[in-house]
Amino acid sequence: MPLDNWLEQLRRGSLDLAILLSVSTGPRYGLAIIQHLEAFTDLVVTEGTIYPILGRLTREGLLEAKWVEGEAPHARKYYRLTHLGTKRLADMKAEWRAFSEKIGRLIHDSE
């Protein structure tokens, strides 16, 4: 598998976790989530494709969405973690840490 494909799969696989982490400190609207991700990662390639993922996470009950009027000339849709989302995020973080630690050990062993 070419490196680009592997990186693409890695990026897609970690996007859900990255989005949940972005809203873990408080509600954010779509563009603020994108800007947060862009500040820390290079996970966002096409901005518009983040919104369908936000929609899915909302349908799955991990996020709660609410339109907020009045803070800008146009309404903004804010996302916040639900109780289920908070629990899922904790599980995902634990899994991610355990996984990266294992791979790290493998890399260390091979060097």
Binding site: L31, T49, Y51, A72, P73, R76
Partner: protein
């Protein structure tokens, strides 16, 4: 940056294409919400952009970063339709999802074609079972010169063709039809679940 009328037209054109593209897959209220959210994103980006004499270039950069409307619509469709189909297994979301994968990749097209044939053959058997009591002489196994050629319904019966099969055709067609439909539907759901995992759509 404040947009000129030309810039506003460009934004409205983008949103129009997006809405039309989403219309194939999403219910009206979901579509309207999605377009509203993308417009909100655009308005934020435009408001934050530094004013420039070359408005067109600045606006195209914002739209490029957001992604072509068809690509954004495709991502919405992939997330929404396939999720709904796999979760509920209901016929309409399933057909929407199959239609989506047929339009997404060549592999998806042939997968969808196979599923379409499965559903069609299953439905055909059920139609045979339903029509047999109404048209007993036109529904059954068809032979030409003693050689079986087809199963189904013939109106009118072609010369030289002989129909065989009594009312036992009904339970046989029912079992075959339901078996094929259930098998195809389960297979479709499993394939869509795999498709969802792979997230074929380019994000």
């Amino acid at each position: 940056m404040t947009l000129s009328d030309t810039g506003e037209s460009r934004v409205n054109g983008y949103l129009f294409v997006l809405e039309r593209s989403l219309g194939t897959f999403l219910p009206k209220d979901v579509r309207a919400d999605a377009v509203r959210e993308i417009e909100s994103h655009l308005r934020d980006r435009i408001a934050a952009a530094t004013p420039t004499p070359d408005e067109r270039r600045a606006l195209e950069k914002i739209l490029d970063e957001l992604g072509p409307p068809l690509r954004v619509a495709q991502a919405y469709s992939a997330e929404r339709t396939i999720d709904e189909a796999v979760t509920t297994g209901r016929m309409v979301p399933m057909l929407r999802a199959i239609w989506h994968i047929a339009l997404t990749t060549i592999g998806g097209f042939f997968t969808a074609l196979g599923l379409f044939i499965g559903y069609t053959v299953g439905a055909a058997f059920l139609i045979v079972a339903a029509l047999k009591p109404i048209f007993p002489n036109n529904v059954g196994f068809w032979f030409v010169n003693g050689i079986p050629t087809s199963i189904g319904v013939q109106f009118p019966v072609p010369p030289g063709t002989e129909m065989r099969g009594g009312y036992w055709v009904i339970p046989v067609a029912l079992v075959c039809g339901l078996g094929i439909l259930v098998g195809t539907h389960r297979g479709a759901r499993r394939l869509l679940a795999r498709w969802r995992t792979r997230r074929e759509v380019a994000l």
